[in-house]
């Protein structure tokens, strides 16, 4: 169990049978009064948020969450299928659960599946992925201003701003946390 003094931004708790993450945290205390722990909590299953103020006597159940490496196999209807390479067990995530990660998911990519009480509820990507540019506007010659960018489409269908020298068929490295271009991959 956690006590109020364990509360901090990012801590994950189980409340009314759902997993929550603390997205904002404030310690408040009138000088002579009692310590209060003001939290904004986000439901990790449905994204709903609420604020609650806890006292120092309150205790909390940790959320049973763990991550497991799995491989993305394919999309079927509105479900995404992943496979645990250790036991070949397959799990499914909905479009909502996958969210923006779909922009960076290629077939067979290895991801971390987030399990709440052994049920898959979400995933996290590697910080960096390499994707092939599949569509690019022709580069207007003479536009050599350093730092100039243009939009291109990568193999997942995601549109991203890249330096103007990038051409169709090239591979680029992308930071999945920001969704931004990092560098050209030679090869």
């Amino acid at each position: 169990m956690y006590t109020a003094s364990d509360l901090r931004k990012g801590l994950r708790l189980k409340i009314d049978s759902d997993p929550y993450v603390i997205t904002e945290f404030n310690f408040v205390k009138p000088g002579k009064g009692q310590a209060l722990y003001r939290c904004r909590l986000k439901n990790m299953l449905n994204g709903s948020q609420f604020e609650r103020t806890f006292r120092s006597v309150d205790v909390f159940e940790p959320a049973d969450l763990r991550e497991k490496k799995m491989q993305y196999l394919y999309k079927e209807g509105d479900k995404y299928c992943f496979m645990d390479n250790e036991n070949y067990e397959q799990v499914y995530l909905s479009e909502d659960q996958v969210g923006d990660a779909v922009n960076f998911m290629t077939d067979n990519i290895e991801v971390e599946i987030l399990l709440f009480e052994d049920r898959p509820i979400g995933l996290s990507l590697p910080n960096f992925v390499e994707l092939v540019v599949t569509e690019s506007e022709p580069w207007a010659k003479g536009d050599t201003v350093s730092g100039a960018t243009k939009p291109v489409k990568v193999q997942t269908g995601y549109t991203i701003l890249v330096p103007t020298f990038i051409t169709e068929g090239e591979k680029i490295r992308i930071d999945t946390r920001t969704g931004e271009y990092l560098t050209r991959v030679k090869g």
Binding site: N26, V28, K29, P30, K32, G33, Q34, A35, L36
Partner: protein, 314 residues
């Protein structure tokens, strides 16, 4: 609060703090000049003590068999009882578990005590003293903090706790007390509204919320206690001192019982203080948070920005 990575380079982050650290030094110097002009004696009492004042919501840090002070209150009142009429102290105090954008477990308090004063006299003196110091520091009439522009000229606002609840809280004071929601209501609805046009003294606290203050003769349901708020920040806490040693002992015993229920460290009864209280003249005393005042002066939103080394950087 700054992130860990920002703390890695002392030179980088201390340079950014140079302005706030300079203001802290000027503020302390200005305060000392003011107190000297008012014929106060600057004193030092021990930081490490065998028996802190037992309070329900303030926990001392152990230091060997003894404790680090949570405030210099007991030592200073022994000096008042011994016949020193006007004393002040600027010292480090320690409170376990207090850490937030406005709290450090080690922080700096200014306390001063005046024999013969009651809490109203002390509010007036506090107001005059801070106006003079702020003026010396270039804040003639106004101060801006977190997009709030305050007027500093006298008179500052004075509002009772009951009136402030009626004005700002969704429930009346009596209901908040009955529901044991006083602190929640105060911090969520009342405090953020206090001292936003000009500094505000919140006064006449419910009697149970004043461990060492005198109960008002004309209304025993309230204690002669006040807090100063500036721009929603709690700055100072003062009161007419309780001088009835028997009543003080009872309140300490009750606080010790509450502490025991929370499994907090047992304190020894501060007997030497209670002996002194029996002969102490009427007096009033106040504790003012130096770090919070520097936050206002430096336009800092976090207390981390006004001390050289928050604990996480050590």
């Amino acid at each position: 609060m700054m992130s860990d990575t920002e703390h890695r380079d002392d030179r980088f982050y201390l340079t950014r703090k140079a302005h706030a650290l300079g203001l802290r030094a000027s503020f302390l110097q200005s305060l000392r000049r003011r107190f000297a002009a008012l014929d106060f004696l600057e004193v030092e009492t021990p930081v490490r003590v065998p028996s802190p004042a037992p309070e329900e919501h303030i926990e001392a840090l152990p230091a060997g068999d003894w404790f680090l002070q949570t405030s210099p209150e007991l030592g200073m009142k022994r000096l008042i009882a011994a016949g020193f009429p006007r004393i002040f102290q600027i010292c480090k105090c320690f409170r376990a578990g207090e850490r937030g954008a406005r709290h450090l477990p080690e922080f700096t308090l200014l306390e001063w005590y005046v024999a013969g004063f009651d809490y109203r006299d002390l509010m007036d003196q506090c107001e005059a003293l801070l106006i003079a110091v702020l003026k010396e520091m270039g804040h003639d009439r106004h101060l801006v903090w977190q997009n709030r522009r305050l007027t500093l000229t006298a008179p500052w606002e004075r509002v009772t706790v009951a009136d402030a609840f009626a004005r700002y809280a969704p429930v009346k004071l009596e209901k908040a007390l009955a529901d044991q929601q006083f602190d929640e209501m105060l911090t969520e609805h009342v405090e953020p509204r206090l001292g936003c046009d000009r500094p505000t003294f919140l006064y006449d606290y419910p009697a149970p919320m004043a461990a060492l203050a005198r109960v008002k003769k004309s209304d025993p349901s309230v204690a002669e206690r006040f807090e100063l708020y500036i721009a929603g920040l709690e700055i100072a806490n003062g009161f007419s001192e309780l001088t009835d040693a028997a009543e003080q002992r009872q309140r300490f015993e009750e606080a010790l019982r509450v502490r025991a229920r929370k499994n907090w460290a047992p304190y020894r009864m501060p007997e030497k203080f209670l002996d002194a209280l029996a002969v102490m003249p009427d007096a009033a005393g106040i504790a003012l948070g130096i770090d919070r005042m520097v936050m206002l002066l430096a336009a800092a939103s976090s207390i981390d920005d006004v001390v050289a080394f928050p604990p996480e950087t050590l």
